[in-house]
Assembly symmetry: C2
Homo-oligomer: 112 residues x 2
């Protein structure tokens, strides 16, 4: 039983994950669903749902977002429609940005 070398996590991330997990749990209880219910609806195992509600940083973000959506927790505080259009708009904006950056510390040219 080797202790798993977990990835370092900042307080901010920890808090955000804990809050998201709490929101999911609150939404689930609000809909009077059991962990087994929600897990099967989301197509995941009950143990994974428990980890999500606990705010485990190791869960796949896709699964967590699916569960959040299923339980009614909004992502980015946007409804599905709004999120889609917001994404489209943002995509256009992205096209105007530089495709790559170049650090200024390169090409010191100290050969004089």
């Amino acid at each position: 039983m080797v202790k798993p070398v977990s990835r370092p996590t900042s307080q901010y991330t920890h808090d955000a994950l804990a809050l998201l997990g709490q929101l999911v749990r609150e939404a689930r209880l609000g809909k009077a669903m059991t962990t087994t219910d929600l897990a099967s609806r989301a197509g995941i195992s009950r143990s994974l749902l428990q980890r999500i509600e606990r705010g485990d940083p190791g869960c796949s973000i896709g699964v967590v977002f699916e569960v959040a959506a299923l339980s009614g927790v909004p992502l980015f505080e946007l409804e599905p429609r709004q999120l889609t259009s917001h994404l489209a708009l943002h995509g256009e904006k992205m096209a105007l940005l530089p495709k790559a950056v170049r650090t200024s510390t390169q090409r010191v040219k100290d050969d004089f």
Copy 2:
């Protein structure tokens, strides 16, 4: 070379992940950081950062949140301090909720 059986993902989740990835990329470019820069700061590989910016649902949520925080993308539209206090308040609220739910379809008691 077995094609990985990917987990089904809803449009909503897909959009949310794509948006989050775009926000990270935009923030990174805004700070004039290379992918290698941000990846090493976050303590992850460049290939993983690429997947995050692409909106890959398979990335660990802890890693994605860390990168978002590092690049300056706010989570829940809250600053670190606010997030912490919000979490504390929400925790108290959680204590008032029922610890378990019971589905009403149980105990049909059809033995009459």
